[in-house]
Structure formats: structure tokens, C-alpha cells
Amino acid sequence: MTQIQAPAGQQPGRRRPTYTTPASPGSDPHGPHTGRAARALARVSGWWRGGGPVTVLFLLPMLLVFGLFSWWPIARTVVMAFQQTNLVEPAHWVGFANFHRVLSDPLLPTALRNTVVFAGLAFVIGYPIPLLLAIAMSDLRRARGLYAVLAYLPVVVPPAVAVLLWQFFYDASGDGVFNTVLGWFGIGPVPWLVSAHWVLPSLVMEATWAAAGGTVIIYLAALTSVPKELYDAAEVDGAGIWRKLFHITLPHLRAIMLVTLILQIIGTAQVFLEPYLFTDGGPDNASLTVLLLIYNYAFGSTTGGGDYGDATALSLLLALALALLSWIYFRLTRSWSDS
């Protein structure tokens, strides 16, 4: 293996001295200026002969795709946040008017509150579940793969289909699936999606079901890296399940847990699909989230439709807020994750 790799790795290094040597200061017979030019020329020619153009050519399609579909829209968003446009007539600059209008929209506090509540509920309900599932699964001796597949299945179900399915479960009358089950225990009927109090917990439960599988797989992969000897040693020392969990498993998962947590916070702060498909923000804006508000500015017609400037302004504010949050998060948890 090493024999095959070594020559390939050494090849560029072996070539380089043949053209860099003349450019070294000591051996330059024509003074400092020509020396610098020669060095630059040598660098370019070295880059050229070292396979530089091919690297760029290979990179180009990806640069084009990223540029066209990722960076260009981001740049346009920033520009459009300071413009008024309906994308048909020419845009005109409006300074900070869009930001001012968005920040004074009475719906913004509602959307912010709902988004924070959603993220909070997702943290309480949605964050521990995949972790517990993964830990339980990693302890299984048989059919671990089967359980992993079962846990991952909801991720495979197309989101729109999952929402249709859960709408059926969340039937608010006594005949609904969940309400029938709760009815056996004398509970309910619960007005799931049609009550302002129940709508966000209902959305979080579906979102947890839909997304947990992906995180379970990440945790399962991380758990395989925990050395088995540690558990054996702990057992010899008389540690029970909980002590093993708190003193071996969780400390080993700490770095991964910190990453999944910030990913979850960013994901839930941008929640759109569930409120859009289940309730369209209702009832009475009880499930209106920041991203749904952005969508409504641009494409919904509750505001007359087509306020692309307002939509991009709020998008920009959300992106900045999330960037700031992530920065603070990583600063605060730096010592934690360096384990």
C-alpha cells in the first residue's frame, strides 16, 4: 500500500526544484527587479506545469453551480433587501425602508414568539429522543440494524406525504386516530391542529417523528467509537447503567451532541414546512413562524403579495441573528467541545 502511494505523492515535489532553483536570491544574476519578475513567472509556470489549469478546470463546474445557485442568490438577497421590486418593473433603492417596515410589523413579535416556542419545544421533546433511542439501540445485541432502519424510515417518507398522514392522525373530532386512542383512557378529544394552544406541540411532535431518524444514525455512528473496554472496566468497578451512561457514554458523545444541538437550533429557527402544510400559520396566526412570515411577504397575498424587499430584509435579519447565535454558541461551548 505504502509502496504504491509514495511515488504518486512525491511526484510534484520531485519536479519543483528544477524551476524554483534559478529564482532563489543567491543565484539571480540580474538584480532584485528581474529577480522578482522571474520568481513570479516561475510561480505561474510552476503552477501551470504542476497541474494548476486542470485543477481549475475540475473546479470550474462546481464553482459555476455554486456561484449560480448559491452565492448569486445570496448576493441578490442582500441587494434586494434595500430595494423595492415586483420583479417585473425595474427595482428602485429604498434604503432601510424595508427593514423599518418589517421591524414594525405587528405580526413579527407573534412570528418570533412562535418560532422560539417551537424551537424550545423541539429542544425539550425532539432533542433527547434521538439520543435515548440511539443509546438504547446501541445496547441491543440482536437486530440492531433492523431498529436503525425502522428509526430511519420516517426520514425516507416524503414530507408532504407525512403531513397528509399526520393530518389524518390529528383529526380533532373524537373519531381521530390519536383521539380514539386517548379516548380509551378517558382523555380528550384533544383539538390538535385547530387550537391555538395545541398547534405548536402538535407540529413539534410530527417534526420530531420526521427528523429523529437522521440524528439517531449520527449518534449510533458516534457510539461505535466509544471503546468497549471502558464499559468493561466500569462494570468491574461496580458501575450501573446510569453511571456508565453519565460517565462514559455522554462524555464521549459531547462533541457530537453540541453540533447536533446547534444544527437543531438553526433548523427549528427556520421551520417552515410543518406550519405551511399543516395550518398555513393558523389558527389565528398561532403557528405563524418567521420563515412563513417571510414566505407570506414574498408569495402569500395576505399582505397584497409580492413584497420581495420586505421578504429579503427579514431573511437577512434572520440569517444575521442565526450567525450571531452560532458564534456565541461556539464561543460559550468551546471549552466543552475540546475534549
Binding site: 497541474g51 489549469p53 486542470v54 478546470l57 475540475f58 470550474l60 463546474p61 459555476l64 415586483n86 420583479l87 417585473v88 418593473e89 405587528p106 383529526d171 380533532a172 373530532s173 378529544p189 383539538p191 391542529l193 385547530v194 387550537s195 391555538a196 395550518t279 398555513d280 393558523g282 389558527p283 389565528d284 396566526n285 414574498a298 408569495f299 402569500g300 397575498s301 395576505t302 399582505t303 397584497g304 403579495g305 409580492g306 420581495y308
Partner: protein
């Protein structure tokens, strides 16, 4: 050797990628999706059928496109699946994925014209032989503030009360005597709920339809949601309050509105066709969609005029569609689009041969023929049209008598003229709150909604 070949391959791949990207860039024209023109002949995409329509409907539209092509060999029509939707329309407009010819509600034309989002087809429309006989009130919906005409009105309707005759029978009610007052509506809805377990009444709540139907109920109770000049929002009027109180009581006292009541236009149609709703309010021509999209059993269907209170202002909300042309269409395409709208939607009301040909084709494709709409010319031409197609009528007109008997006596009230969708959107959450919160404070909800609507009107 290997390296050289590798470089050659990389170069070729990049060249192909760059080449195709450049070609793709060159290929995008100024035309709307699917439109092209060359040497006098033109091809345009048009609104064809709704998503979910049956094959027969798709076939019928394609046949009509072929028949049109025979009459106009230089115009090729490409029908697309499309339906107006308040939520997706601005996105499609911005993205350029609209067909060249499409319909928008009466209420949206003026806004589109003001924002230059539809083409100026004034000359083409005025050149139509029947232009001078178009009903002036109907035509007003297609006019911009500059007095120019920006589209051809069609599919005019008054909102009516649709009811399920089978559920009426099961509840011990007479399906030939539908309710004529709101008290009767409430009593019948309760009877249906109590005897059949289904919802007695269905109310749209989403995508601005909550506001649309609440405005209909408001008009029926003599209220208005905007001042006549459209400058002042009047959502907190006694009519709207009365309508909301009725919905509240039907939901929380009678239980005749289901706790699951969360519908948009298509959703309530689906639930009604499936026999889950006893009554609902929608456009008089919704039977067409109930047949072609939701496969309703015709025996179940009944239509009657919307009950009006004693108030002298009480009336039925009326609306319709305007066939407009994408702002990105060339003059040739725009002219072709107007000719298609004339052929497909309007000509049949003025020309016996066209009426019969269309009715024949629709009957052959098992499409509903004879669903009551509102005249876009006058009562006489409407009656003429009904006589021409009499032999082909396949909708249960006898079950729609409650509506057809009184349609010409009905006081028709136009939708709010300024920021209609914005006003409807402000009312959506109010309807949702009243149906989801037993203790909802209706007057204060309406006050808040009114402030919001006023803000939307003021912003223009």
C-alpha cells in the same frame, strides 16, 4: 501519456459544461413559458385544466385547442395544467412560469394592471364584434384606472348556498325546500349534524377564502367591508359581527361546524363531494369543479340562492374571472391569446353555432353543460344561450332551482374594490379564531383586523 489524456478529458468536460450553460443562457427568450413565434405563425401556452382534473376534461380542452387551430391555422395552442391560487400566483408571475393566457379573479385585475404585470390588450378586446354589448358592470372589472381594457371577462358568478340533498334526506329535511333564512340554515345544519353525524355547515378558512366567504356572509346580512370609494376599511361592521356570531354558535353551541373545519376552496369542495358537509357557500358555478375534480354524485347536489336578511343593503357577493395575457407576451402572442379566450370562453354566449358546437363537444367528453353562471351580456342573451344548449344540458338543473329562479332578482354586490386579497387575508385569522376559540372576543378581533386592513389599503 495518461496525464495528457486526463487533461484532454477534463478540458472536454469543462467545454461541454460551459457550452451547454451558454446555450441554456442564449435559449431563454423574453417570452413566457412555452411561447414562441416565427414567420407569422405563433404558439402560445394557455390555462387548460385544473390540477386533479379527470382525463375527459383534459381531452376536451385539447380537442378545443385542435378545433381552434383549424379555424386559425397560424396559431397553435398548448394548454397547461393551471389554476389561480392567491398563494402561488405572485411567485409564478415573478418566475415567468405563467401561461400566456390565463384567468385571474375580477378583484386582482386592477392591481396587476397598476404593477404592469399583464399585457395591454385594449385594441384586441375592443375589436371583438360583441364588445359594445358586454355588460358594463362586468367589463368594469377588466378595466384599468386608465380606462383601457386589459382582459376579457368570463365565468361570472354570484355566491350561492350549496347543499347535499342526500344528507338533507337522511336528516329528515326536504331537499326540495332548502333554507331561505339564516335561522333555517342554522336549524338545518344542526339537524344534519345531530342525525347524520356529519358537519351541517362547512366554512372556508384558509388562503384568503375565509375572508372571501365571511365577506359574502357580511353582504348577505347587509354589511360592507370597505367604504364605497375603497379608501376606508369597515370590517368592524354589524353585518360581519352577526355573521361571525352565527359561525361561532354553529361551531360551539350546535356543533354543526366540525372541529376539523380548516378548508380552502379546493378542500371544502373535496369534503362536500365526499358527503362530509351538509351545506357551504361558494360560487354558483362550483358544480363544474365538483364534477370534474371531485367526482360528486350528481344526485347529492343542490344549489339555492344565498339567504338575505331584511336589510336593504343585503345582497349576494358576485365575482368572476378576467382572461388576461402575460406581460411578457409579444403583440402577436397577445392577439392570439385574446382570440383563444374569445373562442374558448365567451363566443358561445353570442353565437348559436359556437354554443352548440361547444355544448356538443362538452357532452361528448362528459363535461358538465348548463351550470348556472351570471350573464356577461344581458338577461336576454343569457336566456338565448340556455335555449341553444337546452338539448345538451346534463347538469341537474332541477336541483338548482332555488338559485336559478331568483338569480335575476338577486341584488349583486361586487367584491371590495381596493386591496381585496389583503382585506380577505386580514379576515382569515378572525374566522379561524372564532372557530377554534370558544371565548373569542369578536368585536375586538374585528377591530384589530380592521386596523390591519386599513394599513394594507393605505400602503396601496
Amino acid at each position: 501519456m495518461k496525464t495528457t489524456r486526463l487533461r484532454a478529458v477534463a478540458l472536454s468536460i469543462t467545454a461541454v459544461a460551459l457550452g451547454s450553460a451558454t446555450l441554456a443562457g442564449c435559449g431563454s427568450s423574453n417570452n413566457s413559458d412555452g411561447a414562441s413565434a416565427s414567420k407569422g405563425s405563433v404558439t402560445i401556452s394557455v390555462e387548460g385544466w385544473r390540477p386533479g382534473d379527470q382525463q375527459a376534461t383534459i381531452d376536451y380542452v385539447k380537442q378545443q385547442a385542435a378545433a381552434f387551430h383549424k379555424l386559425h391555422p397560424d396559431i397553435t395552442i398548448v394548454p397547461k395544467e393551471w389554476q389561480w391560487n392567491a398563494a402561488t400566483f405572485p411567485a409564478q408571475l415573478a418566475g415567468g412560469t405563467l401561461p400566456v393566457s390565463f384567468r385571474v379573479p375580477f378583484t386582482d385585475t386592477k392591481g396587476l394592471v397598476a404593477r404592469h404585470q399583464v399585457a395591454d390588450v385594449d385594441q384586441d378586446i375592443r375589436a371583438l364584434p360583441y364588445f359594445d354589448t358586454l355588460n358594463k358592470n362586468v367589463l368594469a372589472a377588466a378595466e384599468g384606472t386608465d380606462g383601457k381594457v386589459y382582459g376579457l371577462p368570463s365565468d361570472v358568478y354570484a355566491n350561492g348556498l350549496h347543499y347535499n340533498r342526500t344528507l338533507f334526506k337522511q336528516a329528515g329535511l326536504d331537499p326540495d325546500k332548502p333554507p331561505t333564512t339564516w335561522d333555517e340554515v342554522r336549524a338545518d345544519a344542526k339537524a344534519i349534524h345531530d342525525k347524520t353525524g356529519q358537519a351541517g355547515f362547512g366554512e372556508m378558512t384558509k388562503s384568503n377564502t375565509g375572508g372571501w366567504i365571511l365577506t359574502t356572509l357580511t353582504y348577505a346580512m347587509g354589511g360592507r367591508v370597505e367604504s364605497e370609494d375603497g379608501k376606508t376599511a369597515t370590517l368592524d361592521n354589524p353585518g360581519t359581527e352577526q355573521a361571525l356570531q352565527m359561525l361561532h354558535d354553529m361551531r360551539w353551541e350546535d356543533g354543526s361546524i366540525s372541529p376539523n373545519n380548516s378548508y380552502d376552496w379546493a378542500g371544502v369542495n373535496q369534503a362536500f363531494a365526499a358527503g362530509k358537509i351538509g351545506m357551504f357557500v361558494s360560487g354558483s358555478d362550483v358544480y363544474n369543479a365538483l364534477v370534474t375534480t371531485d367526482k360528486i354524485n350528481p344526485d347529492d347536489y343542490g344549489l339555492t340562492a344565498i339567504p338575505l336578511t331584511d336589510s336593504s343593503d343585503a345582497g349576494a357577493l358576485g365575482g368572476g374571472s378576467v382572461n388576461v395575457v402575460s406581460a411578457k407576451a409579444s403583440p402577436t402572442e397577445a392577439k392570439a391569446a385574446v382570440e383563444w379566450a374569445d373562442f374558448f370562453r365567451v363566443k358561445k354566449y353570442t353565437d348559436q353555432d359556437a354554443a352548440v358546437a361547444d355544448a356538443k363537444a362538452q357532452t361528448a367528453s362528459k363535461q358538465p353543460v348548463g351550470t348556472p353562471t351570471f350573464p356577461i351580456f344581458d338577461q336576454a342573451s343569457y336566456t338565448n344561450y340556455q335555449t341553444w344548449i337546452k338539448d345538451y344540458v346534463n347538469v341537474p338543473l332541477g336541483q338548482m332551482q332555488g338559485y336559478t329562479d331568483s338569480m335575476f332578482a338577486l341584488k349583486l354586490v361586487a367584491e371590495p374594490a381596493v386591496q381585496t386579497q389583503g382585506v380577505y387575508g386580514a379576515l382569515d385569522p378572525v374566522v379561524q379564531k372564532v372557530l377554534s376559540d370558544k371565548g373569542a372576543d369578536i368585536p375586538s378581533l374585528l377591530q384589530q383586523a380592521n386596523q390591519k386592513a386599513q394599513q394594507i389599503i393605505d400602503q396601496g
